[in-house]
């Protein structure tokens, strides 16, 4: 080809290509500046957006959902126990029922639990005996108790693979972190993003629009399935470009804090409102490994619980109009030892608690087959597990997503009903 015969797009064609890409931007007048909207092919057919919050380090469920009706709790924790709701203790639990109370630092979610917007499944966790953080987190995120061989992908990764389809949003699954969380492994299109802004075209930042237009023009002739997925990607880029998290104003006076959790939930909320096709978001919180100076209202745990519950409440209030299509699950790799240790803290334990936020939870603040804290009923000094975490997650997927084949998600596990999450 002779060099001076390169066909040029006309100025008009060029502009058309560029405006086609930013057509979504034209709807901006209808929405707040930070809120573009975009309809992906599969929007509306995939069930709830799942938001999975992992409390890293082994959260002390006994001091979060306090079994104030169990005397052994007070015997085991002379320093750390949270007082009974009607006691004169300065740090006392907020009653959830006549046996369990909420840590006062978690007050922001008290109302949600009482009014049926959230529920807690106590004495839940992985039946595997491991008290190693790494192993227990790993097993839980992979969705196995260790017996199933070769399962290295995550439960959410397998769930996403099982329900993937052409036309899925490129922003379908996000872990708000540097590395992909283990739970999302196995779904190759999952994103590990520190922020929404991480989802952007690299190269010369002054020419991003022109680069996108150039690529888009080439990918239109790129052959299936690349043309389709590239198209979805360019749309998502355009969408993300318009989401300005700094200018994001949560609804209903909701306030996220500046923790990783707060930022992750805020960005999750922005993507949900933007209709970005988000189906799974994973956020970490912690460090819950409170071996020393755990404290009551003044120690390491207190700040974490305040942040956790404030952000959960913010997310709920911010997304009040969307909660019918959102399920939040909070879990940790294990609970902590019943007996407090000599350092004002607690050591690695076994049974923990899971928290579900959704308008479709059972109208019971705490669901528990309480095994008791009498030493006869403990599992090596730890709270027994009476609900397998996979039962909870299975119920969640079955009732709130279109996934019908949980044998792939939790291989070798036959789920039992928990009664925590109802079908909508």
């Amino acid at each position: 080809m002779s060099e001076n015969r390169i066909p040029l797009l006309s100025r008009r064609q060029w502009l058309q290509a560029a405006t086609a890409l930013s057509a979504i931007g034209a709807t901006r007048v209808l929405w707040p500046a930070w809120l573009p909207r975009l309809a992906f092919a599969n929007e509306g057919v995939k069930g709830d957006t799942l938001v999975c919050i992992f409390l890293r380090g082994g959260a002390d469920a006994l001091n979060m959902i306090v079994p104030f009706g169990d005397d052994n709790y007070y015997k085991a924790r002379p320093l750390l126990a949270i007082g009974q709701p009607d006691s004169s203790d300065g740090v006392k639990a907020l009653a959830l029922d006549d046996f369990f109370g909420l840590n006062p630092d978690m007050q922001p979610i008290h109302e949600l639990l009482i009014n049926g917007h959230m529920t807690v499944i106590h004495a839940a966790g992985t039946p595997n005996v491991s008290r190693s953080h790494f192993e227990a987190m790993d097993l839980m995120e992979r969705g196995t108790n260790g017996a199933e061989a070769g399962i290295g992908s995550g439960w959410l990764g397998r769930h996403l693979m099982a329900t993937s389809a052409e036309g899925d949003s490129p922003l379908r699954a996000i872990g708000w972190s540097d590395k992909l969380p283990t739970s999302l492994r196995g779904y190759v299109s999952a994103n590990a993003l520190r922020s929404i802004a991480d989802f952007h075209l690299h190269g010369d930042t002054r020419q991003t629009d022109q680069m996108a237009a150039t690529l888009s023009a080439m990918y239109q002739e790129g052959g299936a399935p690349l043309n389709l997925s590239a198209d979805a990607t360019f749309q998502a880029l355009e969408l993300v470009k318009q989401i300005d998290v700094d200018k994001y104003r949560p609804a209903n006076g909701a306030r996220y804090d500046d923790s990783d959790l707060g930022r992750g939930l805020k960005q999750t909320a922005a993507l949900i409102k933007a209709g970005a096709g988000l189906e799974v978001a994973c956020v970490d919180h912690g460090n819950y490994d409170t071996h020393v100076a755990q404290g009551r209202s003044d120690g390491l745990l207190s700040g974490l619980l305040t942040s956790l519950s404030q952000n959960l409440r913010a997310f709920h209030d911010d997304l009040l109009d969307y909660m019918g299509k959102i399920t939040v699950v909070v879990m940790s790799e294990f609970g902590r030892r019943v007996q407090e240790n000599g350092g004002g803290g607690t050591d690695h334990g076994h049974g923990g608690a899971m928290y579900i936020m959704s308008p479709y939870v059972a109208k019971t603040p705490v669901i528990a087959q309480w095994p008791g804290l009498n030493s006869d009923f403990l599992d090596n000094g730890d709270l027994q597990i009476t609900t397998d975490y996979r039962d909870v997650l299975s119920e969640l997927l079955t009732n709130r997503t279109p996934n019908t084949d949980l044998s792939i998600v939790f291989p070798g596990h036959t789920a039992k009903s928990v009664g925590a999450i109802l079908k909508g």
Binding site: E3, G150, S189, M211, T214, P225
Partner: protein, 508 residues
């Protein structure tokens, strides 16, 4: 023009230079080990990709500048023969690059001694896992034994082992070195036998737990479903139980070496796929099973289908599978003979596009630009984020080999090319202007675009490609970027980045 040491001069330098043996000279080694480019690069033209580029896209990790003309001169058949006789190919420059990875030569026992990792899985465990993955990428990019490396990748997927299951990673380094690599172009029988004696495999698929009183059928199932017969290969659940019985006691010792524990073995009679295995056979029960599986007619069909999928098409054509099976049968499963038949098959050149998986995309980008990669961890992390870190596929079926498994994650693929051209991949250096000079295009932006297109795509740019790219290069104004100033040169680097990010480069 830049001066570059010739290969001969490089080797002489290495031989005489004890200095280089010292650590801390990695960058010097990298520079010296970088392949020479010809003074004038050959630029295929025409509407369709040149057949040699097609061959190199399938049988290697992507053509390097200058490689097509070498193959052309040598002749395709001869080049294939050379690649099949991989041991005769000089790979000294690669070996120097690999010297920085200490753990590659260690025995399992030494690797396990690194297990002083903390509770959260940090520490030295990472070193072992990373070094094996880094080595794999360095080899894909720089080894002259390209077909061999492609086949090592194929068998790594076929006998897939997830590095991060418990202690598997300590043994996977040994498995790669002593199972996959020695037999990748040998006889399938030897490969299967080596794999069945591999502590990494036995541990990964739980045969280390398989004892008479508590049989574990995991490996027994997968060796038939995934390694030999295929899922519809004609075995029953009963066969799985019987194979598991035959393999009771096949495990490892505390040093991480293969060991048969006779006290764990079920010594009764078994019937596997209709073959009676008499009682009292001990360890040989398992050896007999391997022989039965190797000789079963489903095995060549299953593996040849996968080979044709890897080299030809997502939906492998039956006639090519049949040709490969027939060669397999007449050569007793000689992998080289099968590959020869595959790569010289009359339908090879007309094979439909295959989507590059992220690892292949990364290696081919580095090769196409003659990039110098210092072998660091960052690219492994990047592959991890793209879902294709070597040895990190969790299930034993290996990474997917069809476009649908990978196509919906486009942004990281596009960004990879843009980062490469903007020198934003840490530890990766490129010199496009050196390549431009060898294409006689260092002064003319249009020529640079078109020649670079011909270099990396082995055909002319399409009208659509050149229109889109030239519009970008000129800012839609038709005004040529001036290659004598930094602004113009940068604009062309961005343009060439977009070319490498284009759909055409996503396909093998």
């Amino acid at each position: 023009m830049k001066t570059q040491l010739s290969r001969r001069a490089f080797l002489t330098t290495l031989a005489g230079g004890t200095l280089l043996a010292a650590t801390g000279c990695s960058n010097v080694i990298d520079r010296l080990a970088q392949p020479d480019l010809p003074k004038e690069l050959w630029l295929p033209s025409g509407a369709n990709r040149h057949p040699i580029a097609h061959l190199l896209n399938r049988a290697t990790y992507g053509p390097r500048p200058g490689q097509m003309e070498k193959v052309q001169q040598l002749g395709r058949e001869k080049w294939i023969e050379q690649q099949l006789d991989y041991k005769d190919i000089d790979d000294d420059a690669l070996d120097w690059r690999l010297r920085r990875y200490d753990t590659l030569k260690w025995q399992a026992q030494d690797l396990m001694s690194l297990s002083g990792s903390d509770d959260f899985g940090g520490g030295d465990k990472d070193l072992v896992a990373y070094e094996l993955a880094q080595m794999t990428l360095v080899r894909a990019v720089f080894s002259e034994r390209q077909l061999y490396e492609v086949m090592v990748g194929f068998w790594t997927d076929h006998f897939s082992i997830y590095q991060f299951k418990n202690d598997v990673l300590y043994f996977k380094t040994v498995d790669d070195r002593e199972v996959i690599r020695p037999h990748a172009l040998g006889k399938f029988r030897d490969l299967l036998k080596a794999s069945a004696h591999s502590p990494a495999m036995l541990h990964y698929l739980d045969n280390t737990e398989n004892e008479k009183s508590h049989p574990n059928e995991n490996y027994a199932r997968e060796i038939m479903e995934l390694h030999t017969l295929g899922v519809h290969g004609g075995y029953t659940e009963q066969d799985i139980q019987e194979v598991a019985r035959c393999l009771t006691g096949w495990g490892k010792n505390d040093d991480g070496e293969f060991e048969y524990h006779s006290s764990w073995h079920d010594d009764g009679e078994k019937i596997v796929l209709g073959h009676v295995i008499p009682a009292g056979g001990g360890k040989e029960d398992g050896d007999k099973v391997l022989e039965i599986l190797v000789n079963h007619p489903s095995t060549p069909k299953f593996i040849c289908t996968k080979l044709v999928r890897r080299f030809i098409a997502d939906d492998p054509p039956q006639n090519i599978i049949d040709a490969c099976v027939s060669i397999w049968q007449s050569t007793d499963g000689d992998i080289r003979a099968v590959l020869r038949a595959l790569l010289t098959h009359p339908d090879f050149d007309s094979a439909p596009p295959k989507l590059k998986r992220p690892f292949e995309l990364m290696a081919s980008l580095l090769r196409a630009t003659n990039a110098n990669y210092d072998g660091n961890r960052n690219l492994i992390d990047l592959l991890d984020r793209m879902g294709h870190r070597p040895f990190a596929w969790a299930t034993p079926d290996g990474y997917p080999d069809k476009a649908v498994g990978w196509a919906n994650n486009m942004l990281p693929r596009i960004n990879l090319a843009l980062d490469l051209m903007n020198e934003e991949l840490s530890g990766v250096k490129i010199d496009i202007w050196d390549i431009a000079e060898r294409m006689d295009a260092e002064r003319n932006a249009e020529k640079l675009l078109h020649h670079f297109g011909r270099l990396v795509l082995a055909r002319d740019l399409t009208i659509n490609e050149s229109a889109a790219l030239w519009n970008f290069a000129t800012g839609g104004s038709g005004k040529k970027p001036n290659l004598n100033d930094d602004k113009g040169r940068d604009q062309m680097l961005q343009t060439l980045g977009l070319l490498l990010a284009s759909p055409a480069f996503q396909w093998r």
